[in-house]
């Protein structure tokens, strides 16, 4: 009976287990390192009632949204451009994949030197993180469309442009969406990272300052907020992802 409820609501049980683990680790490690779940939630609630905290959220949020738009647009453009041209795809794909395995934080100083300190640097850093998965997934999506669909479209006498619009794009959409979903998460991480240095506002800045001051409350609440936001949005996007792959249920 318990098994069935777990299968039905795995996320719920997972959250319960994680909260329990959190509490246990707190008992083992002590107040110097951690705050227990309840206190963290309360502290976060208090922070969310201050205008200053919302100012930080707005700062990060703005940078993030702009970076996300850039990531998606640029990623789609690159992925599609390579997707419809097989030679270009073969030549440039290794570069894209390399972009995935390189520690982009090593490029952070270059971003700071080019864009200076402040909003543009955050946006740029976030965009760098997000554009790579979107481009890679879009490219893979285009090459994974079963060729039979193009043959059928040719037999129905579609023009090349019509084929891209009415066959390639809808067929590739599920994988493109997965790329955007991952791009979302990575852009958020990149934006926060970009805020950790050379910034005077934003959640990343808060985190960095709290680390310096050993302010456990702030560290834990901001982390919790980020985890909650990331997990929630990702779960919603995942649900949409599944719906795209399986239309009609």
């Amino acid at each position: 009976m318990i098994r069935r409820t777990i299968y039905a609501n795995p996320s719920l049980f997972l959250v319960i287990v994680l909260l329990a683990l959190w509490q246990i680790v707190f008992w083992l490690v002590g107040r110097n390192a951690l705050l227990p779940p309840l206190e963290t939630i309360l502290y976060l609630a208090r922070l969310l009632q201050t205008a200053r905290f919302w100012g930080h959220i707005a700062e990060t949020g703005t940078a993030f949204v702009i970076a996300l738009v850039i990531s998606v647009v640029a990623g789609l453009a690159i992925g599609l451009a390579l997707g419809v041209n097989r030679l270009a795809a073969e030549v440039f794909e290794p570069f894209l994949l390399a972009g995935n395995s390189v520690p982009k934080i090593a490029l952070y100083p270059i971003v700071l030197l080019i864009f200076g300190i402040g909003m543009p640097a955050k946006i740029a850093f976030g965009a760098i993180h997000g554009v790579v998965p979107v481009a890679i997934f879009t490219l893979t999506a285009c090459s994974n469309v079963p060729p039979i669909l193009f043959r059928a479209a040719a037999a129905m006498r579609l023009t090349r442009w019509d084929m891209i619009r009415s066959v390639l794009l809808p067929a590739a959409l599920p994988d493109i969406f997965s790329g955007i979903r991952i791009g979302f998460s990575l852009t958020l991480i990149g934006t926060i990272l970009g805020e950790m240095f050379g910034s005077q506002r934003g959640l990343g800045y808060l985190l960095m300052t709290a680390i310096g001051l050993q302010n456990i409350e702030v560290i834990m609440s901001v982390t919790l907020l980020l985890v909650l936001v990331a997990a929630t949005v990702n779960t919603l996007l995942l649900a949409q992802d599944r719906r795209l792959r399986n239309p009609g249920g």
């Binding site: 997972l14 290794p94 395995s101 934080i105 090593a106 030197l113 926060i192 560290i219």
Partner: protein, 249 residues
């Protein structure tokens, strides 16, 4: 091999352009020194062994994180594969995991483990292990049920079954997991070094940036990029060789 030629051009042409722009002072050395000087700087650095200690430290930590994550990942993946209830519970965690800013846990690790190497290795491990687990699960999933039955009919022992049936089938997926683990180990360790450490290449880059020392910073960044790309390319090469031998695809 036309394609290799195009790729070389894709790398060399922008570099040549950068070189010209830098020499003409369109781009100031304070932002970006000429590529030729960066290369020269790197060469000198390696020849003099100036940063050998940092390189060794980073590579050691990366290797440690990598080996641990692969071992733990495969073991955990195999165990979870045989426990469907546990798998259902963990599934939401796996799909949301990479949306979470793992770096936010870094301060926690420092407080718990002190300022040694453990926090860096732990971050690298945490980033890499889940991709290894997910890849192991996918690999084990890919073994058709009929092969398990065949193995039992042929009276193969469990070890023989794993060696001659499970492993060959799961190998491509395991390899993907290994590639991801390497990339994540790099990203995790170097990122952690950059944010808050006293040793390693990530720290040296940060130190150089803080001291406006472009002559040191850029060659180090180039070094990291080269190492990451080289490791990735050799893994790719190895993977292709393995796949050719199996005649798959």
């Amino acid at each position: 091999m036309r394609i290799v030629l195009y790729r070389l051009l894709a790398v060399l042409l922008p570099l040549a352009l950068l070189e010209i722009l830098c020499r003409d002072r369109v781009i100031t050395p304070l932002t970006l020194p000429a590529p030729s000087r960066i290369l020269l700087g790197l060469w000198t650095m390696m020849a003099n062994g100036t940063f050998n200690a940092a390189i060794l430290k980073t590579l050691t930590n990366v290797s440690l994180a990598f080996v641990l994550s692969v071992a733990a990942g495969i073991a955990a993946g195999a165990a979870i594969h045989r426990a469907p209830l546990l798998r259902a519970l963990l599934e939401p965690l796996f799909s949301t995991y990479y949306a979470i800013p793992i770096y936010a846990f870094y301060p926690l690790f420092i407080v718990v483990f002190g300022l040694g190497d453990a926090p860096q290795v732990l971050i690298g491990f945490m980033l890499a292990v889940v991709s290894m687990i997910v890849s192991t699960l996918a690999g084990l999933d890919s073994v058709p049920a009929v092969l398990g039955k065949t193995a039992r009919v042929l009276q193969l022992s469990p070890v023989e079954t794993i060696r001659s049936v499970t492993l060959p089938y799961a190998a491509p997926y395991l390899f993907t997991g290994v590639k991801l683990a390497v990339a994540y180990a790099f990203i995790g360790v170097i990122g952690a070094e950059f944010i808050m450490s006293g040793t390693g290449l990530g720290y040296e880059i940060r130190f150089a940036y803080d001291n406006l020392d472009n002559g040191v910073m850029y060659p180090l960044i180039l070094l990291i990029l080269l190492v990451a790309v080289a490791v990735n390319m050799s893994l790719d090469h190895w993977e292709r060789a393995l796949r050719a031998r199996r005649g798959r695809g």
